[in-house]
Amino acid sequence: MRERQASQGARRAREFEAFVAGAAGRLLHAATLLTAEAPDDNPRARRLLTLSLAHTYACWDRLRGEDPYDRARQYLATRFARTAWHQYGGLGRARPHPGSPLGALVPQERLIVVLRLYEGVAEEQAAALLGLSTERVRAICERSTATLLHPPRGPAPKVAGAEVVPS
């Protein structure tokens, strides 16, 4: 019994390590976009990622065929939605970093843009995850896209610059 548990634990650790090796980079990028921090200085995004991966680890045995990446992403998104309002509230705390691509947006807009465009989650799924209506998600996504491409106050040629840069 104990041996079986140990071998199960080893297998689970291997699987989880492979999952983290594959998913951490992309999830960390998404988290950094959400928190609008600089890519090389992102303590909040790291914390968010650590919590969501730890949550995935804790329910690894109960996934039953569900995609662990999906689970981690859901937790990341809902945790960000839940904590954003007091982390980004007044008092000038946690201003978006000027180098962040989504710094011009408010947290909810960032969340929807990251889910819809960066992660490619369907509109209905994003709406169900955040408890909004599908139309509202679509409207927010379009408004944020417009804000990003045509910043209200700022140099207009930024968009052209973004297109020229080879990725």
Binding site: A24, P39, D40, A54, H55, Y57, A58, P101, S167
Partner: protein
């Protein structure tokens, strides 16, 4: 610019400068996740223990008190002597 083009531009904007994953992340995740698992296990054990002790206590009380037996009447005097 139509909608797919705009979305593609925003995607390009977001794909630039991916952050580096810190090397200590995995150990941190294991520590936190393991703690979470242990706490859940402890909570589950405590719940089962409580449930089990409640069942035992109820059974013992029921065997002692026999709540299904009708209590003897206290209002009508016993019928004697006819």
């Amino acid at each position: 610019m139509n909608k797919p083009e705009r979305e593609a531009t925003v995607r390009q904007l977001m794909e630039r400068t991916p952050p580096q994953v810190p090397p200590e992340l995995y150990a941190d995740v294991l520590r936190r996740g393991g703690r979470m698992l242990r706490r859940r296990r402890a909570a589950r054990r405590l719940m089962w223990l409580l449930l089990w002790s409640a069942v035992v206590a109820f059974t013992v009380w029921a065997l002692m008190a026999h709540p299904w037996v009708e209590p003897p009447s206290e209002t009508t005097p016993p019928l004697t002597g006819w």
